[in-house]
């Protein structure tokens, strides 16, 4: 505790004495953090849009023409017992035909010559959206295809796998870009603290000879890094809050579709960003100060 009070005095002296280089570092850190946040929020929002699209995604299970009503019931029971299936919709032959007629509209006459309904009855199944891994859907589909009374299972295979790929690619890009920016933030604090450390090299040598412990020597630098990261994070939080408020108030007025991309904006972001800044900056400072040898 005493160590902290002592170091704080030294830190405030340094923060004030080197205010320009500190301010520059704080601003760079806040820009970096804002970029990461923007990226992550974009990914989360895009992902939620994709998830919403995917909600409408389902399997269409076409039944055999000669399917018995017992078979239909047993299929329905199997589906409702399956936890992965959240919605079951039964489309009878008649309903299918009606829908077809509706779709065709004026061209309905094409169907005029039919004396028998050629359409099969079917089940439309909606799957849990977190199960939209194409491989899993494929497995589920072939499982259902082997059930008795089932003729064929169809689903938007291509569409699903491209959505899935986009979602995965976006996450990967975010992780890579976010990681790179975090490293950049750590490096910015690292170089600033390294400069301070070198400037005070003689003083540190003397302190070591007088009997200063490692923690006494290191703590001021780590605290300075912590404050840089924290302030950078707070500035970034304020900026994010400002931009978010501005866009949600103004832009949505003119561009309602923007709301689509701002579905979720948890308030925790305003706490996590400064914390992330602090942690990354302290890591940078730790590396800058390095090992202290007597």
């Amino acid at each position: 505790m005493k160590a902290f009070i002592y170091s704080f005095q030294s830190v405030f002296r340094s923060l004030w004495h080197e205010k320009w280089i500190n301010l520059l570092t704080i601003l760079s850190v806040s820009i970096g953090l804002s970029l990461v946040t923007a990226f992550i929020m974009l990914t989360i929002n895009m992902d939620s849009v994709i998830q919403r699209w995917a909600k409408n995604f389902g399997l269409v299970v076409y039944l055999k023409a000669n399917v018995s009503s017992a078979e239909e019931t047993s299929l329905k029971n199997l589906f409702s017992q399956d936890d992965d299936i959240i919605e079951i919709k039964y489309i009878s032959k008649e309903l299918a035909l009606k829908e077809l007629r509706a779709t065709l509209g004026a061209n309905e006459l094409i169907l005029e010559g039919l004396n028998e309904n050629p359409l099969p009855s079917s089940y439309e199944l909606t799957l849990k959206s977190n199960l939209l891994d194409p491989e899993r859907v494929k497995r589920k589909a072939s499982l259902i295809e082997h059930m008795s009374g089932v003729e064929e299972v169809q689903y938007g295979e291509k569409w699903l796998s491209s959505l899935y790929t986009i979602s995965k690619a976006m996450k990967a890009v975010t992780i890579i870009v976010g990681g790179a920016i975090f490293i950049a933030i750590a490096f910015m604090t690292y170089s600033t603290i390294k400069i301070f450390f070198y400037r005070r090299k003689d003083e540190i040598e003397t302190l070591k000879l007088l009997g200063a412990t490692r923690i006494f020597i290191r703590l001021p630098f780590l605290l300075e890094g912590l404050i840089i990261g924290l302030l950078g994070g707070i500035i970034s939080s304020l900026a994010i809050f400002g931009i978010y408020s501005f866009t949600s108030l103004k832009v949505i007025e003119f561009l309602p579709s923007v709301r689509l991309f701002m579905t979720s904006f948890p308030f925790q972001v305003y706490i996590i960003v400064p914390l992330a800044g602090a942690v990354v900056s302290v890591i940078g400072s730790l590396i800058a100060v390095g090992k202290i040898r007597y």
């Binding site: 005493k2 160590a3 002592y6 003689d202 003083e203 040598e205 003397t206 302190l207 070591k208 000879l209 007088l210 009997g211 200063a212 412990t213 490692r214 006494f216 040898r293 007597y294």
Partner: protein, 220 residues
């Protein structure tokens, strides 16, 4: 208090000490002498663990130097006050702050520090220079600041490296007087000097470094 047993020290391939054995007793004030380059500074560095022996054993105030871990070195040094040959005063700190540093590293509270530093500055006759920066002091005054910093934490051992290096006789006498006082309070004092005048007639033990060993010990 300070015990060397068969200590050998090399710098790269150059031998500085070969099989050196000597003891300085608790409460003693002793001198170590020899020509420039003989190894006086190195010997002091071995004591405060700035250099490590290549062979042999060194025990200081009960600490076996050879067995010290990196992180325990500071605790040894807190028992050893050092008057550096090159002073090592911080030019961006006042005299007061330079001396206070030796207590701040112990996380001592501000009021105790103020008391102790003020007292010790008065003792070295620099009470009126507390707020001056070291580079505005004369050589003799700077030397006294260094001594004040070394003694303020009341160490068990005080080491002084050429403490009268380029001072006139008057200033040298003042400084020797300070060492005698510190010693009279129970601190073991070891002074390294090439200047024979310093120990002539003191009646204290003198260790002569010659040919990489302590050749003889005599009375000054």
């Amino acid at each position: 208090m300070i015990e060397f047993s068969n200590v050998t020290k090399y710098y790269e391939d150059d031998v500085v000490f070969k099989d050196v054995t000597f003891t300085i007793d608790k409460g003693e004030l002793a001198f170590i002498t020899g020509p420039s380059g003989a190894g006086k500074t190195t010997l002091l560095k071995l004591i405060y663990c700035d250099e490590r022996p290549d062979k042999g054993q060194i025990v200081v105030a009960g600490w076996d130097i050879g067995k010290l871990k990196q992180k325990t070195i500071p605790y040894l040094r807190r028992n050893v006050g050092i008057v550096f040959q090159d002073f090592r005063l911080l030019s961006n700190r006042t005299v007061f702050d330079n001396v206070a540093l030796a207590l701040r590293i112990h996380y001592m509270n501000a009021s105790t520090i103020k008391e102790d530093v003020t007292a010790v500055l008065k003792e070295v006759k620099l009470g009126h220079k507390a707020n001056t920066y070291p580079q505005h002091l004369s050589g003799g005054e700077q030397q006294r600041v260094v001594i004040a910093r070394a003694m303020v934490s009341k160490p068990t051992v005080l080491l002084a490296d050429e403490p009268t290096g380029n001072l006139d006789i008057d200033n040298s006498q003042i400084i020797m007087g300070l060492f005698r006082e510190i010693n009279a309070r129970g601190t073991t004092v070891l002074i390294a000097t090439h200047n024979q005048e310093l120990f002539h007639g003191t009646g204290r033990r003198v260790f002569f470094i010659k040919d990489h060993s302590i050749e003889k010990e005599g009375i000054g």
